[in-house]
Symmetry: D2
Subunit: 298 residues, 4 copies
């Protein structure tokens, strides 16, 4: 089944446009494709370039959210909401309207608040180390690194995120200096992983695996709920409608998708649709979920 989907993807010509706001992402070829699946019974399946690392970008928000919930618990929700935003992923309108409380932890403003909550006065280098340790532990693989060239590029061009951070600070919802929090944020987005590593790292969100537990079952369910309603920016409703599974996308073209109790899926294809989500990646998991009967909606 995965091989058939892989073949179908190879034949696709409308692959969307590669993110072009930093040179490191713009240079990636839209021809890449990889998909990895880790099932609840411990098996793994891979097609395409499952050993080629890519920039996970916003998928990192899932790991920092898990870290923050583990450390702070529900008090995190006083600083960030749990509702879909209904607006483009970097909108400041909503933020202004709601006095500095981002709608959810997966829009940029919300993710910056989550990173700020983890930072909490510690040294950025130390906190980044902790994020990396969490991801490596979840993946069971120590060969996961930050691409510092990507991080530097994001830092040089990330004026919109810096604007969000200053704006959050003006509303009293940022505890650290904007350039420190954004520094950590730009680096976490620059983590590189293969689909193999990403699917493995996603297993703790499947539930039901005592060994892989990094988070309580209740928190796992809640992260999945957030990925379902908010995981694909302003395309979240469409992803739920087509795929029927919680997922989180990144502008590097990766998507982490969870079939609760059944599988963790990672897919990568760098071409994006108008909402900034991987076009072929979405299509591939839509077909996989349908063929496997994994939709949570019956």
């Amino acid at each position: 089944m995965m091989n058939r989907i892989h073949d179908e993807m190879q034949g696709m010509t409308d692959r969307g446009a590669v993110a072009d706001y930093i040179p490191e992402l713009a240079q990636v070829s839209p021809a890449h494709f990889a998909m990895s699946v880790c099932t609840a019974d411990g098996q793994s399946f891979h097609v395409g370039e499952a050993g080629v690392p890519f920039s996970i970008q916003s998928i990192s928000k899932v790991f920092t959210l898990a870290l923050a919930l583990g450390r702070l618990g529900d008090q995190l929700w006083s600083r960030v909401g749990r509702e879909p935003s209904g607006l483009a992923f970097n909108s400041m309108v909503q933020l202004e309207h709601e006095r500095g409380i981002p709608r959810n932890p997966f829009i940029n403003a919300g993710a910056i608040v989550v990173t700020d909550a983890i930072l909490a006065g510690h040294a950025p280098r130390e906190v980044l180390g902790e994020v990396l340790r969490f991801v490596r532990q979840a993946a069971g693989d120590d060969d996961i690194h930050i691409n510092h060239r990507v991080a530097k590029s994001e830092q040089a061009t990330g004026h919109r995120n810096m604007a969000l951070a200053h704006f959050l600070r003006a509303h009293g919802n940022l505890r650290n200096a904007p350039d420190l929090t954004c520094g950590v944020y730009f680096h976490q987005c620059a983590i590189e992983m293969t689909t193999r590593q990403l699917a493995q790292a996603g297993r703790f969100l499947m539930g039901g695996l005592p060994a892989a537990r990094l988070l309580s079952p209740a928190r796992v369910r809640r992260i999945n709920a957030l990925m379902m309603t908010c995981g694909h920016y302003d395309g979240s409703g469409d992803f739920a409608y087509r795929v029927g599974l919680p997922g989180k996308s990144g502008v590097g073209g990766g998507i982490l998708v969870i079939a609760p109790g059944r599988a963790a899926i990672a897919v990568w294809s760098p071409g994006l649709d108008a909402q900034g989500n991987s076009r072929l990646g979405t299509l591939a998991v839509e077909r996989l979920a349908q063929a496997a009967g994994w939709s949570v909606f019956g």
Copy 2:
């Protein structure tokens, strides 16, 4: 389990505020509570006033959407979107910004477009008859009626919905005269059902029941996806986070909740929270879903 939840709800003092925009809803006591469950194996369970009819209001949007999808298929999506709105349920801002295409079929503007699509030049009375037949057939119960006093009251005070209809018409997204479409809409919202009837009527969304099929399994999954991301206005993310099941609420205090493959649940308690969803109803299904392990998120 349901009896325990019923008892817990009886003890609750913070029941929210009853909708007060028409006298017929304002007069309903916040003390009412009922919950009914129809399981996939054909059993039914009821607690509280499961035989007392209440105004289903926006829950009717689920039935008209099913009707419209059955009749028009996916071409309906050229007139209404599938994304959460991120704004109050009757907002005109989004509608103006997006040139007359409502974000989804569960906000008022979207539901008015769906009703307009069913109306399609037919006589309002005839179309209302069809909606009622659909609901009765789904419930397997012919004793379901429209409360005409409620419909008249809504008509007299429904200026915001009339504004939406005229606005949709100005954008070319309403085919019938605003007062005709709104006339049908006000009457569909005034359908009265008991939780017993509503849970039965929701069985076709459980999936897997050949006898109860009013809609293809693919369409069932998609309606569930829409209920998950958009079914509770600006509280949809929170409902997904807490309950982990697709549902649709109405300002009459009812909620229809689907546990795919397992159960259809109807709950009623007239007091509403700040987002316009039943406060105790949400709490009751949260506890039920948790106790039964029905969350779709693992």
Copy 3:
């Protein structure tokens, strides 16, 4: 000087686009041009087709505002603001944000409230008669009429204004039935005048003419202030910047401009710019004001 400006306008090719939302306006040729000036010393000057009537449209809002202020005084300001809107002329966003109080009496929502305030339970026909009497008295000319074909067309296509009226009603800021108030509004917009008549009708806003006084000097100053800050929709700042005089435009291509203490000016050219204001009309009064040294800004 006026003849020179007339000649210059004849040579202009970029005349903008004629309003096309109703057939009666769409059929008007963009080649028309007329300008009339009534000076404080009682003289009149005319160039172009100063005897051809055109649809005054939103310029009527100046006359209904004068009527309403004369009748209700400052209590009108509890229902409508005095600030520029900073948004397109028919926006519902602002209205929703500010709970049904339109920003000023010259955007459509504000003008509908003003008309509603004059209507005040009287028969529409009667109130329209009063508006017409006011305009005729101001112009000193009884040959001013409503074009009922234009009014009917606006009524048939005026869904956006009907939406505004229902929305105002939903917020408790409309006292009469939406179709009654809009009926009067559509008819007042359909008044036809020549530039000769319009310039004469504008003399009461010049100030300093005891005979022409229909309003106290304080109210005259205030209407001029409102025309300066809000008279040209989202092009008001630009008109103030370029012309330096208060004015009110209509989508029929007319503009009424006041040089306080000096002159009342009417100009007509049907082609509109992107903000819905007469392109050549604006240019003509800009040149007239500059040549005559009439800018209020020094």
Copy 4:
């Protein structure tokens, strides 16, 4: 007349609230009052504490705009608009909606763009010197300085302005580093002047004074037009309505008002109204303009 107004202001109890976002402004007593008038015939009149310096804050935007127009001419308008904003003075909504082009040079975002245009790669210290020279020359008084404590405080708390600057930069409408441009901006706002100095510095906007000309008459008219439509944030329409003169306010409680061809007026009272404009200052110039018959509106 000025003495009478001074006396009336002394008796006022509802003086509004002093700006409190930095300690230096919060410590100023609301009891201060001063008004100075320079007339076209070269006379000066002063009441109250006309020799006490106060922070001119946003009034500095008039001087940097004059400088920028003198240096860049109309090409400045490709980077900033000329329309009232219709929103709170520090709104990012409008900016996002209009892709980084601020509505006008008097909202914060627009003033930051103007300062950025003057900075143009020069050293901040050098450009600040030039702004100060311009103000001193206009006032004919070299004893005008920047309060560096105020500037430092604004820098420490100015996250909203930093957010605006980064946002402008993200849209390609800021040429210098955000902290450099904001550095100059915070210092220009921290210029201190007495009403005597400010009224003198405003004479070049009166027009008709060859000796005082720092700007062409056409540009003077246009700055006045902008002050009329945009000079008081979201209270601009109200100021035009009540006072009938162009003016620019600052949160330090000062207002510079121009009676074209007649007078330059400076008023100071630190208590602000809900729109951030001096409450008693507005009232004082309203009474002065009315008594002197200086309204430009007749």
